[in-house]
Symmetry: C2
Subunit: 281 residues, 2 copies
């Protein structure tokens, strides 16, 4: 497995693959890999001739008071895990490779970046769209796989790829969960044992909403109220948002007559967790 | 010569070239071709296996009170001219192909877009960067040629290509002028015979600044003052800006000890013209 730290070297690596007419699948990550990432990679290994992942904790998608500095990193472990699922190359640049002096260009996806996580994390999706556009130009993948846990991120990237006519097929991978239902996330590492138990309320709340819709409830307001009560009554849990939205536009839906997505963000202690689920009518 | 109006068909055309391992040069235009465009195309025909041009009057780079609707168009004439210089394919989309319903993604290049034309045309370079990013993804050119007459546009595109790691080489082509010195522009068509004569002051002012620097003048303030007097004393001419800037950052230079660019924009009657020249020390 190759580890490439420079943009120029990565482009040369890609060129040699492209010249043979072979295909590339990219799984972009911020590292500290967990079973969710590995599942995306296993999927990626089956989709193209070459599986490339990127590990880059992207500074432009973190706000000034967020966890950029303490975001967990463990490259040695990540290398072993990546090799075990068939990764052929890790693109592992540092920030000065990606954002050299004088850097000035950003990709903005309007509207769908304003709600949900975008409301409490201004500029977050500008950073995501920008770094993903750069990765797509550097790695030139035929396929790129993103987890559905970051539902809004997936929608933003799809919008960008479509709008800017990028030559990559974006593939969604279902949210991978721990046995007890907690969505896998590198940030779960921040949780104390008590917080870890309390955090289960995110998944429970989604399942409860799913069951309400399944039994005929049409009112988003009613469902949100019940779910918000459930979360608010859990120790150490503070709601950032609980929303029921259109799967494509991410705009709030008032009455549920077609599949919708419930998305939520909750601070458990000082750790902000997100999760979502499609509620099927 | 092929004329392709749909993004999907254009991508298929490009794919067939790429699969043969052949190269593409793109000359993006807004049509109403003049000798300046044709010179870029002649250059392009020598640089790659295939010469593609685009003709698209891009709405996102026009302000609400600008000349989008009256911008000159003559596709029949453009086709003949393009064929005469070796163009193999014209990508000729309409606005709904490029900006379908729900479109939401824009590329912003910060800082260098704020001065010069950016100051009086907010969002202009956002539109330019966005449409050029789209054209690059659709046509996947190895080379793309831009005229130096639009100096700031060239700088913005270079910055974007560099920052977003795009796989295209941006090539500059010197400003092509009429015999009497007026820089060629599709907008020259708007000028009355009197205005056409008055418009010569742009080039004369640049030559005068060039001679001042050549004879040892170091003060930008002094040079700008003389040039602004010259233009202001010409009938129907109203200055938008006259600036002496660093060739890369486009930031104003006060004392001239290295090559600088003088850039100017002047309204002649209701027609806004731009021109620029490198002033060599």
């Amino acid at each position: 497995m190759e580890i490439i730290r420079e943009v120029k070297a990565m482009k040369a690596y890609v060129r040699s693959i492209r010249n043979k007419g072979e295909t590339i699948c990219l799984v972009p990550t911020m590292g500290y890999l967990h079973e969710g990432h590995l599942d995306l990679m296993r999927m990626g290994a089956t989709m193209a001739d070459h599986l490339v992942i990127s590990i880059f904790v992207n500074p432009t998608q973190f706000g000034p008071n967020e966890d950029l500095d303490k975001y967990p990193r463990d490259m040695e472990r990540d290398e072993k895990l990546a090799a075990s699922v068939g990764v052929e190359c890790i693109f592992f640049p540092d920030a000065s490779q990606m954002y050299p002096d004088g850097y000035a260009t950003y990709v903005n996806v309007e509207r769908i970046t304003q709600s949900l996580c975008g409301a409490s994390r201004p500029n977050h999706f500008r950073g995501v769209a920008t770094v993903v556009a750069k990765l797509f130009n550097i790695v030139e993948p035929d396929f790129a796989i993103f987890g559905q846990k970051d539902y809004q991120q997936l929608a933003v990237i799809r919008r960008m790829v479509n709008d800017l006519n990028m030559n990559v097929k974006v593939v969604a991978h279902h949210t991978v969960r721990e046995k007890d239902g907690l969505a896998m996330s590198s940030r779960n590492k921040y949780l104390s044992p008590d917080q870890r138990r309390n955090a289960l309320v995110l998944h429970k709340a989604l399942l409860y909403a799913f069951s309400l819709v399944g039994s005929g409830e049409k009112s988003s307001a009613k469902i949100r109220e019940e779910v918000m009560d459930m979360i608010a009554n859990t120790p150490e849990c503070v709601i950032d948002y609980v929303e029921i939205v259109d799967p494509d536009t991410l705009e709030p839906v008032e009455s549920i007559y077609a599949d919708v997505v419930m998305a939520l963000a909750v601070k458990v202690g000082s750790t902000r967790l997100i999760d979502n689920m499609t509620l099927e009518v």
